[in-house]
């Protein structure tokens, strides 16, 4: 792929704007709270778009296009089953506890509901996860730039890290969030023309129906058994593993996304943030999955659309989007497309770094190292943590370069940590007898159960560290099954230990447990301000698409 001056001009313009936003916001940052929490003063439309944009990182944009080619329309389950329902649940049921408790982070909520050890365990695992994730984003960006543009690996890493550092260091969380909104529009407007051109080339819907295997153009067909659909998973694993455990574990407990809602003006805005974000999320498959399906049709109709092989000699599905950009975009709009890819990497990285500095400053430094320091002090700590977070991300990127399997490991760490965490939250928020000891040991057992399941099973040649007792049809199926097993173990252990240990007094749980918290009254609000009505509308739209593409 060869870029022209105009393409470099667009990339340069984008870099100028993201750093410019950081400079503009610099003078508004005076305290640690401004830097790490945006003083809970961000408008609804911005928090909503930042909410989905924080998840619109490299793994999402490249990975979902890859899955679109690999699994076809079944990939949309990651959105309609694996995101929307959880986002609605977060807005309707969980956000009142997060926002109402005045906790500054998810680990801090765990401290209020349970105790310090549960908070510290979650803060440490989350901090490690965000650094890994940020570093992998950086590594993937550098590899992509090296492969498709011939840029030097080191230059790509230091340039991207330097720009993310500049705008997050200057403007903190607000700068990251504002840039996420710009990045959202850039990703959508930068990739949408690709979908239009692709549709035009293959001959529209008729061309897709004629050239793509019918088995890849459904959502639910063949889901009765793992061997009868391209995804290699069955309906139970999909609904319980992805739709319930993994989706709710990520969208309802991962501080990276929850933080975007927690910085809203007020509780009503905080509740509506994930619900309004669900609307673009419902339509996102059009931008990130459809290109993969279009590639399948283009491969049948034209030559030159074959995917390259990776180092293991297997088809490299991650190259779906770069291949389409190089084949369908002329110079000019190609610069916009490449900038959109860079934006997705930087968005993912900045989101992780800002979540990392908040959790480190409030949940590790302020709790265990220096309590009761001045706001100015925590501002400096937050800024220093940002620099350290970026440096650790760079280090992780270089480590990832030497280990091919580190990306798979990252996905596993996500399912190890997030799946049991949702069981802890679920019991903690909806069962007042859940005890601090139950939560801690349940969380630990769930994480251990996930690791053990992975060690005793294989899929696509991965796993089975101890023995191979079961082989899954696909890595996706393995991840879904690990998730629900970890959830169930955590749930059961937490419940059993809670029966034999002492719960916190009820007066300490008001605002933290559903049955002990006064209900929100939204009856007098107009429908578009009422989170429940909005959630019902989103639910109906999701249901409609599930029926349409059955």
């Amino acid at each position: 792929m060869h870029l022209h001056l105009v393409d470099y001009g667009i990339i340069g313009l984008y870099f100028l704007f993201v750093i410019g936003i950081g400079f503009l916001l610099k003078k508004r940052i005076k305290t640690g709270n401004d830097f790490l929490m945006s003083t809970r003063n961000i408008p609804l439309w911005i928090t909503s778009l930042a909410f989905i944009s924080a998840n619109l990182g490299a793994q999402e944009v490249l990975g979902m296009a890859a899955n679109g080619a690999k699994y076809g329309l079944y990939t949309a389950h990651f959105y309609w089953m694996g995101a929307v329902l959880a986002m609605l649940f977060l807005g309707v049921f969980m956000m009142p506890f997060y926002y109402g408790s005045k906790a500054r982070s998810v680990p801090e909520f765990l401290k209020l509901r349970f105790d310090e050890k549960t908070r510290t365990f979650n803060a440490l695992t989350f901090a490690v996860m965000t650094i890994f994730s940020s570093g992998i984003s950086l590594y993937a960006l550098a590899m992509l730039m090296q492969t498709i543009l011939g840029w030097d690996f080191n230059v790509s890493i230091w340039l991207a890290a330097g720009i993310v550092l500049a705008y997050t260091f200057l403007g903190g969380l607000t700068s990251a969030v504002y840039n996420e909104v710009l990045q959202f529009f850039l990703i959508v407007l930068g990739i949408a023309p690709l979908v239009y051109i692709g549709f035009h080339q293959v001959g529209g819907i008729d061309g897709i129906l004629a050239n793509v295997d019918n088995a890849k153009l459904h959502l639910w067909k063949g889901m009765s058994h793992a061997s009868t659909n391209p995804m290699g998973t069955d309906a139970f694993s999909l609904i319980f593993g992805l739709g319930f455990v993994l989706a709710f574990g990520y969208w309802c407990t991962d501080f990276l996304v929850v933080q975007r809602a927690m910085i809203s003006h007020n509780l009503n805005d905080a509740r509506r943030t994930p619900i309004i974000a669900a609307l673009p999320k419902i339509f996102m498959p059009l931008i990130v999955i459809v290109p993969g399906i279009l590639l399948l049709a283009l491969q049948k109709e034209f030559s030159g659309f074959e995917l390259p092989l990776n180092t293991n000699g297997q088809t490299d599905y991650n190259m779906v989007l770069p291949l389409l950009l190089s084949k369908l975009y002329p110079s000019g709009i190609l610069g916009v497309g490449i900038t959109a890819l860079i934006a997705s990497f930087m968005s993912g990285m900045a989101g992780n770094v800002t979540a990392f500095n908040t959790v480190f400053t409030f949940d590790i430094y302020q709790t265990h190292i220096k309590k009761n320091a001045s706001e100015k002090h925590y501002l400096y700590v937050g800024k220093a943590t940002t620099v350290v977070g970026i440096l650790l991300s760079i280090l992780t990127a270089y480590v990832a370069r030497g280990f091919n399997s580190i990306m798979d490991l990252l996905q596993l760490v996500f399912s190890f940590v997030n799946a049991p965490l949702f069981a802890t939250f679920f019991l903690g928020m909806f069962w007042k007898k859940t005890t601090p000891n139950g939560a801690f040991w349940g969380l630990l057992s769930g994480t251990g159960a996930a690791a053990l399941t992975y060690s005793l099973s294989t899929a696509e040649g991965k796993g089975g560290w101890i023995a191979n007792l079961h082989t899954f049809y696909s890595g996706t199926s393995q991840a879904f099954n690990i998730a629900w097993i970890a959830f169930v173990i955590c749930f059961v252990i937490t419940a059993v230990i809670s029966f034999v240990t002492k719960p916190k007094p009820e007066n300490q749980l008001v605002g933290l447990v559903y049955s002990l918290t006064p209900r929100q009254r939204d009856k007098n609000r107009v429908w578009y301000r009422n989170p429940v009505w909005l959630a019902i509308i989103m639910l109906l739209i999701t249901l409609f698409f599930n029926i349409l593409f059955y």
């Binding site: 667009i10 936003i21 503009l24 408008p43 911005i46 710009l182 023309p193 002329p330 709009i333 916009v336």
Partner: protein, 66 residues
Amino acid sequence: MMNKFFDLRFVIGIFFLAVGILLLLYSFTNPTVMHAAVNRWCGIVFMVFALIMIALAFGKNQADKL
């Protein structure tokens, strides 16, 4: 006018206006009709989007400033 740079809608509008103008101008230098049309239409769509964002920034709701 400088104050408008604290409104994210204005910043996004300016960015896409600049990119739209670049694409539109570049389309006149494209050697093939197909490439020129892609850049021209994308440039126009970006500019329309940019103008909508800028218009919103100048609207009544000033609560969305940075």
